[in-house]
């Protein structure tokens, strides 16, 4: 699942249309759109709203290791060489309230410009001294740090992507919602195509035991009167055997048939069979 967060409806509109998202009941007052592979929440402006929006969606639909978070929206920049509509993939996020800095992992190849986003509590309408003097590409938004802070509770740093699309040059220009929608629209196919590739390839939560295997483990655990600690050892033993041989059910059924037709009458007797089991499976 791709979890998308935008501040404004006009930023979300092209994504909703491109992905064919349907309006769902609001979550904690946040507008929520979704289909089978994308969840989108409109958080409102500001990093606190953004953080609450992320927490609201992710608490309701808990992401796993195969999911990604995307923050998409417009930004300002003092760098006039960046054309309006240029998407910047952020490798560094500076919160201008706390001066804390956050770093999403940059593991994947891409053709975007990378840069720093500075998250300001108020709209930046006049060019001021940039805080990341080392980077040529510095843009300003109002949400990224809040999205990251809340997002890292649910996602790992390689699962989070921050796209900021240049909309103004910090000179207090008027920007209509139609202009915002247009700036996002021209990028949505390129950005979504890249993100989909990554999302489709990310490893999901690894499977451990099947239902049949779990039932067998419970059965033999009861039959041998294993303690909780020994049950953990049994799980490790079977996980190890499964990695090496692809499964353990047949062998375990045989073991039960040969040794444990009747349940053990004491923990001591169970321990004896557990030792035998360890010898057979290691």
């Amino acid at each position: 699942m791709i979890y998308v967060f935008t501040a404004l409806y006009c930023e979300a509109k092209p994504i909703i249309q491109y992905s064919g998202l349907k309006r769902q009941p609001d979550i904690n007052g946040f507008q929520y759109f979704a289909n089978d592979s994308v969840n989108l929440v409109i958080t409102g402006t500001g990093s606190i709203n953004a953080a609450v929006g992320v927490a609201s969606l992710c608490s309701l639909h808990t992401p796993d290791s195969g999911d990604i978070l995307v923050n998409a929206g417009i930004c300002g920049t003092g760098n006039s060489s960046l054309k309006k509509g240029t998407p910047v993939l952020c490798n560094k996020i500076i919160d201008l309230c706390t001066y804390k800095t956050y770093y999403p992992d940059m593991l994947f190849k891409h053709s975007f410009i990378e840069g720093t986003v500075e998250t300001s509590p108020v709209p930046v309408t006049c060019r001021s001294e940039k805080h990341d003097e080392n980077s040529d590409i510095v843009v300003t938004d109002m949400e990224a740090s809040g999205i990251f802070l809340a997002g890292e509770r649910f996602f790992q740093p390689h699962q989070m992507f921050f796209f900021k699309i240049v909309s103004d040059y910090l000179a207090g220009e008027e920007i209509s919602s139609d202009m915002v929608t247009e700036l996002v629209s021209v990028n949505v196919e390129h950005v979504a195509g890249w993100l989909t590739q990554i999302h489709d390839g990310l490893p999901g939560k690894p499977s451990d035991f099947s239902e049949e295997e779990k039932a067998l483990l419970n059965q033999i655990s009861d039959a041998m009167k294993l303690t909780v600690s020994m049950q953990h050892q049994l799980n490790h033993l079977m996980r190890y055997y499964k990695i090496q041989h692809g499964g353990f059910a047949d062998k375990l059924i045989n073991f039960i048939g040969e040794n444990l037709k009747e349940p053990c009458i004491s923990k001591n007797e169970g321990k004896k069979y557990f030792d035998l089991l360890k010898r057979e499976f290691v």
């Binding site: 770093y103 940059m106 593991l107 994947f108 790992q156 740093p157 590739q197 690894p206 996980r239």
Partner: protein
């Protein structure tokens, strides 16, 4: 489980994080010049990137970033109990680099660090100063490549060359450079020294192929050792950790036979032997990182904070390994890590 195709990942070190304090350090400039295409991101402190919460070690291994930093303190560490001292009284190790370009499933680094990114401390001059202070009191045996593989990184970092130069001026310092590298070019222009030991870790081919990802094959490492010996370097062989499997003995025997059919045993200064053992905290993290690894998921026995194969199995593996190596090396040149020594 599906995985991203390799070509979707950035190459290693596509991104280099540099601490602001050392951005103009000569070591930083030298290393950055070797990565002209890398994107440089300035940071305040290496831990801001390296110690972030909930990083994914395996994902980062596919595209590790480089972090250039300044080591502020703790330049030298007393040798840990789980490490072999090879009979040296003043045994220390130092962390010049944190993490390794190789990806061995049994490696303790993945249990020790929350990140697979590689931290390089560029202020070698401060390390040298600390070692010189210690040398005023006693000789020092120093392992400089424990938490990394310096030889594998030599063409990018040049640290082994620097330490050769330093060791050449301090005869009462002995350094060990532990490696799995087969890159003879890294040392071909260095002058061999009596007080520098190049220590190669060797494993059976099945272990190398299945569990030591990105490492050079056994035969390449053997060839590199031979080249090093021919140039006059002092070489050590480490069979540590020996990994248990049903057929470990036959593959270990075949490996030792292959090694000593290619390498003259009298050219090797000594051999280290140890079976896999790992601290509880490290294994916990390793199991989480690698749920599909037979090495991390083995049902180890636990006592005194360490997971191991069990005293009986470990002892028998050590005894058999010593027996096999003993056919080629005299007993006094075989060093064994034993639990009792590690306590």
């Amino acid at each position: 489980m599906t995985c991203l195709k390799g070509n979707l990942y950035n190459p290693a070190f596509s991104h280099i994080y540099v601490e602001k304090e050392i951005k103009n350090h000569p070591g930083t400039e030298r290393i950055l010049s070797r990565f002209p295409k890398a994107r440089v991101i300035e940071i305040k402190h290496y831990k801001d990137v390296f110690s972030r919460s909930s990083q994914n070690f395996l994902m980062q291994k596919r595209s590790p970033a480089l972090i250039l930093a300044k080591k502020q303190d703790n330049f030298l560490y007393k040798g840990a109990p789980v490490c072999q001292d090879f009979g040296n009284l003043h045994f220390y190790y130092t962390t010049l680099v944190m993490n390794c370009i190789y990806d061995c499933e049994y490696c303790f680094l993945q249990g020790m660090y929350s990140s697979a990114n590689i931290v390089v401390f560029v202020n070698l001059e401060d390390y040298f100063q600390q070692v010189e202070k210690m040398l005023e009191n006693h000789p020092v045996y120093l392992c400089i490549s424990y938490d990394t593989d310096l030889l594998a990184l030599e063409q990018k970092l040049g640290f082994v060359r620097e330490w050769f130069s330093f060791a050449g001026q301090h005869p009462n310092l002995t350094i060990e450079v532990r490696t799995k590298s087969a890159n003879i070019k890294a040392i071909e222009n260095l002058v061999p020294l009596q007080n520098v030991i190049l220590a190669w870790t060797l494993s059976p081919e099945t272990v190398q192929k299945n569990h030591e990802h990105n490492t050079p094959p056994l035969m390449q490492r053997i060839s590199c050792i031979n080249n090093a010996l021919n140039k006059g370097f002092r070489a050590r062989i480490c069979f540590d950790p020996i990994i248990y499997s049903k057929d470990w003995l036959s593959s270990f025997r075949a490996t030792v036979e292959t090694i000593f059919s290619e390498i003259p045993p009298d050219g090797i200064i000594d051999v280290g032997i140890g079976v896999f053992r790992i601290s509880r905290d490290y294994l916990k993290r390793m199991r989480k990182n690698r749920p599909d690894s037979a090495i991390t998921q083995y049902p180890y026995e636990y006592d005194n904070g360490v997971y191991h194969y069990g005293r009986k199995l470990s002892d028998s593996m050590i005894a058999m390994a010593c027996d096999i190596v003993g056919k080629y090396m005299p007993e006094e040149k075989i060093f064994v890590w034993k639990e009792a020594e590690g306590e």
